[in-house]
C-alpha cells in the first residue's frame, strides 16, 4: 500500500500546547470528536470500575463494614448510571462518529457542529453527575451523589423519600446528556441516509454503518421517553406535580413503564454497535465475507422493532395481569430469533475460513461464546414465572453483565485493537494485547459465571451486606477475586495504548488486509478523509480492488 504522508498523532508538528488544545476543544471533525468520546469514556470506565470494586470489596464477606450503607447505595447508583450513560453510550457514539463517515466514503458527518454540540452536552452531563460527590456532606460521605438506583424508581425519588438534591443530579445530568445522545443519533441517521458515496446503495453498505443506523433510530425513539419521564420527575420534585406521587393518586408503575420503554431499547442501542464491530472483525480475520448479509440486515431491523415491544419483562413482578405478562413473554422470546440468527451467521462466517487469532479476533470469538450464554440466560429470564424467582436477584446482574461486559465490552476491546492502527498510525503491542485478553477473560469468568449462583440461591441485588448462613459467602468471595484480574487486564490495556501511541511501529494504511473504505485512507486519515470521492460497486470495495479477477459484485 502507499506509504502514509500523514504523521501519526504522536508526531504532530510542535504547536504551542494552548493552540493544540484549542483545536481539540473547537473541533467539528468527526474523527477528533470520536477520539474525544472514546477517551472520555475510558476515563469514566476506570471511575465506574472503582465504584464496582468498592462494592465488591464490601460484599466479599457477610456483615462487612468497608463502607456504610449510604455510601454503598450511592456506589451502585453511580456505577450503573456512569457505565450506561457515560461509558457505554459515549464510547459507542465515538466509534460510530469515527468510523461511519469513513466507511461510507464521505468527508464528515451530516451536521458537524451538531456533532460537537452533542459531545460537549454529554461530557457536561457526566461532569454534572460527578459534581454531586462534592455537594452535601463532602467527599467521604459521598456528598449528594444519587442513591436511588440507576432506574430511579418512584416514589423513592419523590421529595418525601429523597430530600436534598441527589436525585436532581441524576435527573439533570441525564437530561443534558440525553440531548447529546439524540443529537448524535440524528446525525448518524442523516449521514447514513444522505452522504453515502456514489454506488453505495443501502444494500452495499457495510454492516457497521447499518447497525449504527438502526441504533440511531432506536435512540431517537427511545431516549426521548426517558427525557419525558425525567421532565415529569422534575415537575414533581420542583413544581409540586403528582405524576408519580402515590399519595395523591399518582402511579409508581407508570414511571416503571416509561423508564423501561427507554431502558430496554437502550440495551439494544448498546449491543447493536457491538454487533457492528464483530461483523467487521470476524470476516477479516476469518478471511471470508460475512455469511448472509441480507438476513443480517433484516435481523437487525427486526431486532430494532421488536426491542420496542419487550420492555415490561423488567416488570414481571409488579403485578400485571396474566395477559400482560404473557404478551411480554412472547415478545421477549421472539427477539431471541433474530439475535440467534446473527450468532449463526457469524459462526458460518468463521466456518471454512483461515482464522488468524490476533487480539481483535480473540476478543470477538470470546464475544460469540459469551453472548451466546448471555442470550440463553436472557431466555430463562424471559419465562415470566422463572423470572418471578430470579428478577431483582444476582442472577439478573450476572445476566446483564454477561451481555454488557462479556458481549459489548469484549467487542469494544476487539474494536479498539482493530482500529487503533487506523486512528493513531501505530501498531499496538500484540503480546500485551494477548496478555490483556487472558487476564480479562479469567477475571470476567471468575466474576460473572459464579455470580449466577447467589441469584439462584436467593440473593437479591442492591444490598450492601448479607446474612451469613444463606450459602452466598463463597460465591461472593470468588466474584470479588475476579474483579482484580479484570482490573489488571484493563491496566495492561491502557499501558499498551499509551506505550504504542508513543513508540509503536508504523502501521500503514491497511495492516489487516481488510476490505472496507476506511482502510484505503492514510493512518490516521487526513482531515478530509478521501482525496477524491470514492465510487463503489460492492460491499467490499477493497476486495474488488485486490481481487479484480473475482470481485464481490459478481456474486452479490
Amino acid at each position: 500500500m502507499a506509504t502514509s504522508e500523514t504523521l501519526p498523532l504522536s508526531d504532530m508538528s510542535p504547536m504551542p500546547l494552548v493552540e493544540r488544545l484549542h483545536q481539540w476543544v473547537t473541533t467539528v471533525d468527526h474523527k477528533r470528536l470520536g477520539i474525544m468520546y472514546i477517551a472520555y469514556a475510558l476515563l469514566l470506565l476506570v471511575i465506574g470500575g472503582v465504584e464496582a470494586t468498592i462494592m465488591r470489596i464490601q460484599l466479599i464477606r457477610p456483615h462487612n463494614d468497608f463502607v456504610s450503607p449510604q455510601v454503598f447505595n450511592r456506589m451502585f447508583t453511580m456505577h450503573g448510571t456512569t457505565m450506561i450513560f457515560f461509558v457505554a453510550m459515549p464510547v459507542l457514539f465515538g466509534f460510530a462518529n469515527y468510523l461511519v463517515p469513513l466507511m461510507i466514503g464521505t468527508r464528515d458527518m451530516a451536521f458537524p457542529r451538531l456533532n460537537a454540540f452533542s459531545f460537549w452536552m454529554t461530557a457536561f452531563g457526566g461532569l454534572l453527575l460527578y459534581f454531586s460527590f462534592l455537594g452535601g456532606d463532602g467527599l467521604y460521605g459521598a456528598g449528594n451523589a444519587p442513591d436511588v438506583g440507576w432506574w430511579a424508581y418512584a416514589p423513592l425519588t419523590s421529595p418525601a423519600f429523597s430530600p436534598g438534591h441527589s436525585t436532581d443530579f441524576w435527573t439533570l445530568s441525564l437530561l443534558v446528556s440525553g440531548i447529546g445522545s439524540i443529537g448524535v443519533a440524528i446525525n448518524i441517521i442523516a449521514t447514513v441516509l444522505c452522504l453515502r458515496c456514489p454506488g453505495m446503495t443501502l444494500g452495499k453498505m457495510p454492516l457497521l454503518p447499518w447497525m449504527n443506523l438502526v441504533m440511531a433510530g432506536l435512540v431517537v425513539l427511545c431516549v426521548s421517553p426517558l427525557t419525558a419521564a425525567q421532565l415529569m420527575l422534575v415537575v414533581d420534585r420542583y413544581l409540586g406535580g403528582h405524576f408519580f406521587d402515590t399519595q395523591a393518586g399518582g402511579s409508581a408503575v407508570i414511571w416503571m413503564h416509561f423508564f423501561w420503554i427507554f431502558g430496554h431499547p437502550e440495551v439494544y442501542v448498546l449491543v447493536l454497535p457491538a454487533f457492528g464491530f464483530v461483523s467487521e472483525i470476524v470476516p477479516v480475520f476469518s478471511r471470508k465475507t460475512i455469511f448472509g448479509y441480507p438476513i443480517m440486515v433484516g435481523a437487525t431491523i427486526g431486532i430494532g422493532f421488536i426491542s420496542m415491544s419487550v420492555w415490561a419483562h423488567h416488570m414481571f413482578t409488579v403485578g400485571m395481569d396474566a395477559v400482560g405478562n404473557g404478551f411480554f413473554v412472547l415478545t421477549t422470546m421472539a427477539i431471541a430469533v433474530p439475535t440467534g440468527i446473527k450468532i449463526f451467521n457469524w459462526l458460518a462466517t468463521m466456518w471454512g475460513g483461515q482464522i488468524q487469532y490476533k487480539t481483535p479476533m480473540l476478543f470477538c470469538v470470546a464475544f460469540l461464546f459469551q453472548f451466546l450464554i448471555a442470550g440463553l440466560t436472557g431466555i430463562m429470564l424471559g419465562a415470566a414465572p422463572f423470572d418471578w424467582q430470579l428478577s431483582g436477584s444476582y442472577f439478573v446482574i450476572a445476566h446483564f453483565h454477561y451481555v454488557i461486559v462479556g458481549g459489548i465490552l469484549f467487542a469494544l476491546f476487539g474494536a479498539f485493537y482493530y482500529w487503533f492502527p487506523k486512528m493513531s498510525g501505530r501498531m499496538y503491542n500484540e503480546a500485551l494485547g494477548k496478555l490483556h485478553f487472558v487476564l480479562f477473560f479469567i477475571g470476567f469468568h471468575l466474576t460473572f459465571d459464579f455470580m449466577h449462583i447467589p441469584g439462584l440461591l436467593g440473593m437479591p441485588r442492591r444490598i450492601y451486606t448479607y446474612e451469613p448462613g444463606r450459602g452466598w459467602d463463597v460465591w461472593n468471595l470468588i466474584v470479588t477475586i475476579g474483579v482484580f484480574f479484570q482490573a489488571a487486564g484493563v491496566l495492561v490495556f491502557i499501558g499498551n495504548l499509551l506505550w504504542s501511541l508513543r513508540s509503536g511501529p508504523m502501521a500503514g494504511s491497511d495492516p489487516w488486509d481488510a476490505w472496507t473504505l476506511e482502510w484505503s485512507t492514510t493512518s490516521p486519515p487526513q482531515a478530509y478523509n478521501f482525496a477524491s470521492v470514492p465510487e463503489v460497486r460492492s460491499r467490499r470495495p477493497l476486495w474488488d480492488l485486490k481481487h479484480p479477477e473475482d470481485p464481490d459484485w459478481q456474486y452479490e
Binding site: S68, P69, G149, Y153, P155, F161, T246, Q247, G250, S251, A252, V253, K288, G292, Y293, P294, I295, T317, V318, G319, N325, G326, V329, L330, M333, A336, G340, I341, I343, M350, G352, I355, Y357, F369, L372, I373, L376, M380, A383, A384, P385, F386, D387, Q389, S391, S393, D449, H452, I453, L456, L457, G458, P460, R462, I463, Y466, E467, G471, W472, Y555
Partner: protein, 380 residues
C-alpha cells in the same frame, strides 16, 4: 442447613443429614447453626445448579445448599416454577451444547495453518436452506417455551382460593413488614406465621400486598416467586406450603438505605400450632398490676407515637406493633436475636444495627433504657 432457635426449639427445622454438619453458635441470632458440608462438597454441589438439567438428578429436595434456594421449593407456586425452569434449563442447555460445540469446532478446525495459503478461502455469501433452518427451528422453540410459560402464568395468577385460605395483608414499610390478619383480627410485624397445607384439606395463604411508602418486594424463594409491594397499586400472591418449617427471604426491591436488612421470616406451622399462635396474638397486652416505670417512660416519650401496644395508650402505626414483641425470635426485621441485651442496644441506638433505619435514637438514659426493656419483656 438447620437453624434451631434457642428460644423456641420447637420451631420446625429444615431437614438435613445431621452427621455431615458441625454445630456453631451464631452470636447475632443466638441460634444454634448446623453449618453445612465441607467446602469441596459444597463447591461440587453448587456447580450443579449451574449445569441445568444435571441438577435435578443430583439434588435432593430435602437438603438445600441454602435456606433460600429456588431449586428447593416446598410450596405449590414455587414447585410449578421449578418444573417450568427445568424445562427451560434443558432447552437452553441443549442449545448451548450444540452451538458452543460448533463454535469450538470452528474456532479450532479453521485456524490458519503454518503453511500459508496464498489465496483466500472460498467466499461463501449465504445459503438459503441453512438460513431458513436456523430461523424456523428457533421459532418453534420459542413457541414451545412461550406456551409452557403462559400455562404456568395462568395457573399461578388465575388460581382460585381453594379450601380454607388464610388471608394476610402484608404492608411494606421502610424497613419492616407489617402483617394483618383481617378475619382473625391480628396485627403483628416481621415474622409471618401461616398454616401448612395438606392435600386432603388445602389451606393456602393469600397475601395482599400493600405499601406504606416506597416499593418493596416479598421474596421467600422456597415458597413462591416474588411479587412487589407498590404504593397505590395493591397486589396479591399466594403460597401453599407442604412442609412445616422456618423459611427465609428478604425484600427484593430497593427501597432505601436499609433495604438490605429488611429480612423475611415465614413460620409454617401445623394447623394446631397456628391456631394457638393466632389465639395468643389476638389478645391485648396483659395488664400488669401496676403501671411499671418502663411503661410510663414508654408512654411519656414519643414511643407511643410510632408503636402500638393494644390495650394501652400506645396506638402509633408508623413502626411495628409491639403487643406481642416477646413472641418473636428476632428484632429489627430479622437482623438480631430477640434478647434483652439486643433490645437494650436497639432502643439506645437503632443505627448500631441498622444505620439509616427510621427509628431514631431516643436519647434515653441507661436507667430509662433498662426500664423500657423490662417493660417490653412483659409483652409476651
Amino acid at each position: 442447613m438447620i437453624i434451631q432457635s434457642i428460644r423456641n426449639p420447637q420451631v420446625a427445622m429444615i431437614e438435613t443429614r445431621p452427621e455431615e454438619y458441625r454445630v456453631e453458635e451464631d452470636t447475632i441470632l443466638d441460634v444454634r447453626v448446623l453449618v453445612g458440608r465441607p467446602l469441596h462438597t459444597r463447591l461440587l454441589r453448587a456447580l450443579v445448579p449451574f449445569c441445568g438439567a444435571a441438577f435435578t438428578a443430583l439434588a435432593q429436595p430435602a437438603a438445600p445448599l441454602s435456606p433460600t434456594n429456588i431449586f428447593a421449593p416446598v410450596s405449590t407456586p414455587a414447585k410449578w416454577i421449578l418444573d417450568l425452569s427445568i424445562l427451560v434449563l434443558i432447552v437452553t442447555g441443549a442449545i448451548f451444547t450444540l452451538v458452543f460445540g460448533l463454535l469450538v469446532y470452528a474456532a479450532v478446525k479453521f485456524r490458519k495453518r503454518r503453511v500459508s495459503e496464498a489465496c483466500e478461502p472460498a467466499q461463501v455469501y449465504g445459503s438459503t436452506q441453512l438460513e431458513l433452518a436456523w430461523t424456523v427451528v428457533p421459532i418453534l422453540i420459542v413457541v414451545v417455551l412461550f406456551l409452557t410459560a403462559a400455562r404456568v402464568i395462568a395457573s399461578i395468577q388465575g388460581a382460585r382460593p381453594a379450601g380454607d385460605a388464610i388471608e394476610v395483608t402484608v404492608i411494606g414499610h421502610q424497613f419492616w413488614w407489617e402483617y394483618r390478619y383481617p378475619s382473625q383480627k391480628v396485627v403483628t410485624a416481621n415474622e409471618l406465621h401461616i398454616p401448612v397445607s395438606d392435600a386432603a384439606h388445602r389451606t393456602p395463604t393469600i397475601l395482599h400486598l400493600l405499601s406504606a411508602d416506597t416499593d418493596h418486594s416479598f421474596w421467600v424463594p422456597r415458597l413462591a416467586g416474588k411479587t412487589d409491594l407498590i404504593p397505590n397499586h395493591p397486589n396479591t400472591m399466594w403460597v401453599e406450603p407442604h412442609e412445616t418449617g422456618l423459611y427465609l427471604g428478604q425484600c427484593a426491591q430497593y427501597c432505601g438505605t436499609q433495604h438490605a436488612k429488611m429480612l423475611l421470616r415465614v413460620y409454617v406451622q401445623t394447623r394446631a400450632e397456628f391456631d394457638r399462635w393466632i389465639q395468643r396474638q389476638s389478645q391485648p397486652a396483659q395488664p400488669a398490676g401496676t403501671v411499671s416505670e418502663g411503661q410510663r417512660t414508654f408512654e411519656r416519650t414519643s414511643c407511643i407515637n410510632c408503636h402500638t401496644v393494644s390495650g394501652t395508650a400506645a396506638d402509633g402505626t408508623f413502626g411495628p406493633d409491639l403487643t406481642h414483641l416477646m413472641s418473636r425470635d428476632t428484632i429489627g426485621s430479622g437482623i438480631a436475636a430477640n434478647t434483652p441485651e439486643n433490645l437494650r442496644r436497639w432502643i439506645r441506638d437503632p443505627s448500631v444495627f441498622k444505620p439509616g433505619c427510621k427509628m431514631p435514637a431516643m436519647g434515653l438514659s441507661d436507667p430509662e433504657v433498662n426500664a423500657v426493656t423490662q417493660y417490653l419483656e412483659t409483652l409476651r
